[in-house]
């Protein structure tokens, strides 16, 4: 983990409001786990707190992010020009423990929550079925096809792939473990289902963050074991551990 000043090698629109950015990070020694993230900040003062963005792909001395323009911060990040520098602190968070992900794996992503799952799919030791839920436009589908056993695409309007919600296209009983990242309402649904069916479930949570390091206690997640920090103890949690917070 380090505070890098990294050169931006790519920063381009890949879908409406969604950008792909690749930055140069030397000597990472492949020590980035899928599910980890970096805190990104432009070098001007157009916003204050660095923004947490998950690792989408890792190359030789490069890290790629896929992010959606949400507000001030991501907008500013999208303005960064090629060869300019950006501050990137990371890799942060627990990430997925690949060694514990075995058997038949389903990966379910929704919206921008799809982005972090690509590197996971690539890193898994077993192949996985990937379920991707989009609103209308799709992105990264070809990339997922490269690594997944099966890639199911669902859009809300059915313009591309199946129509409706991605959760409706998963036959949970086929899997030993289900991994999900996306809107809380979707993850809640999936985690609840998995608990009912007694299937192992991992979710990747989002919280407002200031430090991303575990120091400020701003990103608290209520778990059955008490308060945990999304940035340090997470962002990957077992579904049953955090269901409590959605219970009320």
């Amino acid at each position: 983990m380090k505070v890098y000043h990294s050169k931006v090698l790519e920063n381009r629109l890949i879908s409406t409001n969604i950008y792909k950015m690749t930055i140069e990070i030397d000597n990472l020694n492949n020590d980035i786990k899928p599910g980890q993230f970096f805190m990104l900040k432009t070098l001007d003062n157009s916003f204050l707190l660095p923004r947490p963005i998950s690792v989408n792909e890792v190359g030789v001395n490069t890290v790629t992010f896929v992010y959606r323009i949400q507000g001030t911060g991501t907008k500013s990040i999208s303005y960064v020009k090629l060869k300019d520098y950006i501050q990137a602190t990371g890799p942060l968070g627990n990430g997925f423990d690949i060694n514990l992900i075995n058997g038949r794996v389903a990966i379910i992503g929704g919206g921008i929550g799809i982005a972090p799952l690509l590197y996971l799919t690539k890193c898994l030791k077993t192949t996985s079925d990937v379920y991707l839920g989009y609103k209308d436009e799709v992105y990264l589908v070809d990339e997922f096809r490269r690594y997944a056993n099966k890639t199911v695409v669902v859009t809300e309007n059915g313009g591309i792939g199946f129509k409706g919600f991605v959760t409706d296209y998963v036959d949970y009983n086929n899997y030993d473990i289900v991994i999900t990242c996306g809107p809380e309402i979707m993850m809640n649904k999936i985690a609840s289902k998995c608990r009912d069916l007694n299937i192992k479930c991992l979710v990747s949570l989002e919280r407002r963050m200031a430090c991303g390091l575990g120091a400020c206690l701003g990103c608290t997640v209520e778990t059955i074991y008490g308060n945990k920090r999304a940035c340090k103890d997470g962002p990957i949690f077992a579904g049953e551990e955090i269901l409590v917070q959605w219970r009320k």
């Binding site: 983990m1 380090k2 505070v3 900040k41 003062n45 916003f47 204050l48 707190l49 660095p50 501050q87 602190t89 407002r208 963050m209 200031a210 430090c211 390091l213 575990g214 120091a215 400020c216 206690l217 701003g218 990103c219 608290t220 008490g226 308060n227 340090k232």
Partner: protein
């Protein structure tokens, strides 16, 4: 290279740069990023006698060049701190400040007693946290209330006692004088400024407690003014903080009268910010041919 060693409260700091309470955990997370021994000191997360879960709901909100937080003093309690965190903190090779909060005078006193028999170098009495219902800032608004708590704690405290003031105090200079006469060995300021955020979409207050504490670059002009006001009236050393992001900010606080300074929100913006700041202060002093910071301290 310039001489940055700074003495305050009888404690010798390598340099005047300390990381502020609540923004640096207990140092551990940052120790993976840089060598903490370069710091003048580290201030612990605010401690209370008993463990605290902190506040529910949203805890962080960004504002123009500022951060509002409502952590609510989540901490493991004084005992667990002494047992689990302090030994690690002491191993970093820098001064350790324990930031102590409380709900009642009794809690402050017991906490201070317990910390007095440990290795902590300084106790920072937090009478200025806006994020807890009772206690906290309640002690930091009226000078006479502050005097009582400071003098009660001082009686049992075997460590140098630095009292951290709230910018929400009725009169910051009076408050500092009251704490000084209560026995404070130093005054630190400012804690966060009581502020508010509204989520227009949800039509609710962002924070469950409605009000929370503002910090970051946006508060610096106010913090600097208060440090100047206080430095002019107290004899004990002043520790200045509030929005420090650069070495220039540090120099400003020192020119305004601060002996030592703390970096808070800046640690979030660039986790190794203290490294840059210390380097740049060295460069500045060399360039300006300043041998020790005494030459510019309080010149305004």
């Amino acid at each position: 290279m310039a001489n940055l060693t700074t003495n305050a409260m009888g404690v010798e700091f390598k340099n005047p740069i300390i990381t502020a309470s609540g923004t640096f955990g207990f140092g551990e997370e940052f120790s993976q990023i840089f060598d903490l021994s370069i710091l003048g000191g580290i201030c612990s997360k605010g401690l209370t006698l008993h463990p605290k879960q902190g506040n529910k709901g949203v805890r962080l909100w960004e504002t123009p060049m500022g951060l509002i937080n409502s952590i609510g003093l989540q901490n493991p309690g004084v005992d667990k701190f002494i047992c689990d965190e302090l030994p690690k903190m002491k191993s970093y090779g820098t001064k350790v400040i324990a930031n102590l909060g409380g709900n009642t005078t009794e809690e402050y006193i017991i906490g201070a007693k317990k910390l007095s028999v440990t290795d902590v170098d300084i106790i920072e009495l937090n009478i200025s946290c806006p994020n807890v219902k009772s206690g906290g800032m309640a002690f930091g608004i009226k000078s006479n209330v502050a005097f009582d708590i400071v003098s009660s704690v001082k009686k049992v405290c075997k460590k140098p006692l630095m009292v951290k003031l709230s910018p929400n105090a009725e009169n910051i200079a009076d408050m500092a004088l009251a704490c000084e006469s209560g026995g404070a060995d130093a005054i630190s300021l400012i804690n966060t400024i009581k502020a508010m955020a509204i989520d227009v979409k949800k039509k609710t207050s962002v924070f469950d407690n409605i009000y929370a504490g503002l910090s970051g670059p946006c508060v610096k002009p106010i913090a600097l003014r208060m440090v100047h006001e206080v430095s002019k009236v107290v004899k004990v050393p002043v520790c200045g903080l509030g929005g420090i992001m650069t070495s220039t900010d540090v120099i400003e606080f020192i020119m305004a009268g601060a002996t030592i300074v703390q970096i808070g929100t800046g640690n979030f913006i660039k986790p190794d910010i203290a490294v840059d700041i210390i380097d740049e202060i060295n460069e500045y002093m060399d360039k300006e041919n300043i041998k020790t910071l005494d030459e510019i301290r309080g010149i305004i």
